[in-house]
């Protein structure tokens, strides 16, 4: 019983850390840097950071809660919020956030120490997961909800290739920041 209690007490801290990442991801959607066609938001940046710092389960749930908050009606997605957002073509990118942060977290916790480039690689893997799942959802929405026949390859190229350069740069900065945070011993 004592052991169970101590585990619970420890989990209070993690609940709070995870909800801070939820709030940061939500705030990151507001910081929008206009880029040629696609606006760059800091949303996925915080997803990557959650993966880099928290343990897999908590990273996953922090992003899950972010999606939940948006679906509850808070205008924290890039085009508003509410349950109707599941029919928005870009919802797939949001659905991929928990999975990506889980993958990033489990990859970066598998080794004791990682170099900056290794971390960047892990983060790029995570962002590629986001882009792929997002593009597949785009394909799904376009084909099934509005029943337009588009080829999968067209949708994939439109939904992925545009984002790659920015995502690579974001991953690098996130890796740099995770290392900084580790040096300051901010992370539990």
């Amino acid at each position: 019983m004592y052991l169970y209690d101590s585990m619970k007490i420890k989990s209070t801290k993690y609940i709070l850390y995870a909800s801070i990442f939820t709030a940061l991801t939500a705030a990151g959607a507001f910081v929008r840097i206009p880029f040629y066609i696609v606006p760059v938001t800091l949303q996925t940046f915080f997803t990557i950071l959650a993966g880099g710092t928290l343990k897999p389960g908590w990273a996953f749930s922090s992003q899950l809660v972010y999606i939940g908050l948006g679906l509850l009606g808070l205008p924290i997605f890039s085009n508003g919020g509410g349950i109707q957002y599941i029919f928005h073509p870009t919802f797939g990118y949001l659905l991929a956030l928990p999975i990506a942060s889980f993958v990033i977290s489990s990859l970066s916790h598998s080794h004791r120490s990682l170099s900056l480039m290794q971390r960047t690689g892990i983060h790029i893997t995570g962002s590629l997961i986001i882009l792929f799942i997002g593009a597949f959802y785009l394909y799904f929405i376009v084909n099934i909800i509005s029943t337009i026949n588009y080829s999968l390859i067209k949708v994939l190229t439109a939904g992925i290739l545009v984002f790659i350069p920015v995502e690579v740069f974001k991953s690098y900065i996130a890796a740099w920041m995770v290392r900084k945070l580790e040096n300051y011993e901010v992370i539990p």
Binding site: Y4, D5, K8, I9, S11, T12, K13, I15, L16, Y17, A18, S19, I20, T22, A23, L24, A26, A27, F30, V31, I33, V40, L42, S61, S62, L64, V65, Y66, G68, L69, L72, G73, L74, P75, I76, N79, G80, G81, G82, I83, Q84, Y85, I86, F87, H88, P89, V142, I145, S146, T147, I148, N149, F169, K170, I173, M177, K180, L181, Y184, V186
Partner: protein, 319 residues
């Protein structure tokens, strides 16, 4: 012509006017966001420094009221929403779509929401409607109404019909979903979710923890946004620059995000200590401030929506 230099001032004036207008009508200040014709997004407000509104983010799209639908149990709203949405996905004829449209009209009257507020939810989907309509009209073969060989363009009756059906179906799906978030506050829906998902606790899913995270981050979002603004001002006073090309802008977020992280984690540590010292999560059964209970009207609404959806499903199959 409007001078571009004065555009921020112009927008700010519009925002203030709109706030006053809504205050006069005794409505919440956030409501103007969903104005169908003139929407100012949060990003613009962020630039304008209208931070009073950020504390209102936690209300979400909720439009307070005392109507019949507002007083229903949030679980009822959630379940009947799911029923109607699954029903709509099987609707392929104008007749059943018309009946679903009637249901939305009834809901509009039952909730006493301003129609423009409800319709404003369609705005993010406008280009999807247009795309659906156009592609169906162009790509469906059938009785030709109009054709242009130079553009490889043929318009058929069947195409227009299909485009309209799928467009209307999408619009109705969006409207049904919008009713839930307009008539129930995020906290109400959270409570409903916790109650509805509580059987999953036995499977080892941390439902209570997830719901706790929902409420905690609701509290954190406005605080963090405020803190980010303070940090930005502090860094600017130390000579930091937030501008330039994309690379410089991305780099300039570092002196903002790093201190934000450190202070946020410090805040989390304090709160964790406070919660632990009050024995949060000691394993006992938790009680809650709001107690949900089904009234007779809830059962009636659930029953009637189930009957409607089943009736429409069979109507669809007989057509």
């Amino acid at each position: 012509m409007l001078n571009l230099r004065f555009l921020p001032v112009y927008i700010e004036g519009k925002v203030k006017k709109r706030i006053q207008k809504f205050k006069k009508k005794d409505k919440i200040t956030l409501a103007f966001l969903f104005d169908f014709f003139f929407t100012i997004n949060y990003i613009k407000m962020f630039k304008l420094g209208l931070f009073i509104l950020f504390s209102d983010i936690t209300i979400g799209q909720y439009f307070p009221g005392e109507s019949f639908i507002h007083r229903l149990d949030p679980r009822t709203k959630l379940i009947s929403l799911m029923l109607f949405m699954t029903g709509l996905l099987f609707a392929y004829h104008f007749l059943s779509l018309a009946i679903y449209f009637l249901v939305t009209i009834v809901m509009l009257f039952g909730s006493q929401l301003p129609p423009r507020l409800v319709l404003g939810n369609l705005k993010p989907f406008v280009w999807l409607f247009i795309l659906t309509l156009l592609i169906h009209i162009w790509s469906t073969p059938g009785t030709v109404v109009f054709s242009c060989s130079a553009l490889h363009l043929t318009v058929s009756i069947e195409g227009i019909r299909l485009g309209l059906i799928f467009g209307i179906r999408l619009a109705l799906l969006v409207l049904f979903a919008a009713f839930l978030t307009l008539t129930a506050s995020p906290i109400e829906i959270t409570d409903a979710l916790e109650k509805m998902l509580s059987p999953l606790k036995r499977l080892g899913l941390p439902v209570h923890e997830l719901v706790m995270m929902l409420t905690l981050s609701l509290r954190f979002i406005p605080t963090l946004l405020e803190e980010a603004e303070q940090l930005k001002n502090a860094q600017v006073s130390r000579g930091a620059r937030f501008g330039g090309n994309l690379l410089q802008r991305l780099k300039s977020t570092i002196p903002l995000v790093l201190p934000l992280f450190i202070s946020a984690f410090r805040r989390a540590d304090d709160l964790a200590l406070a919660m632990d010292s009050r024995c949060y999560g000691s394993g006992a059964q938790r009680s809650s401030y709001r107690i949900l209970h089904y009234a007779r009207t809830d059962y009636m609404v659930l029953f009637s929506s189930l009957i409607t959806v089943i009736f429409l499903f069979f109507l669809e199959r007989s057509l």
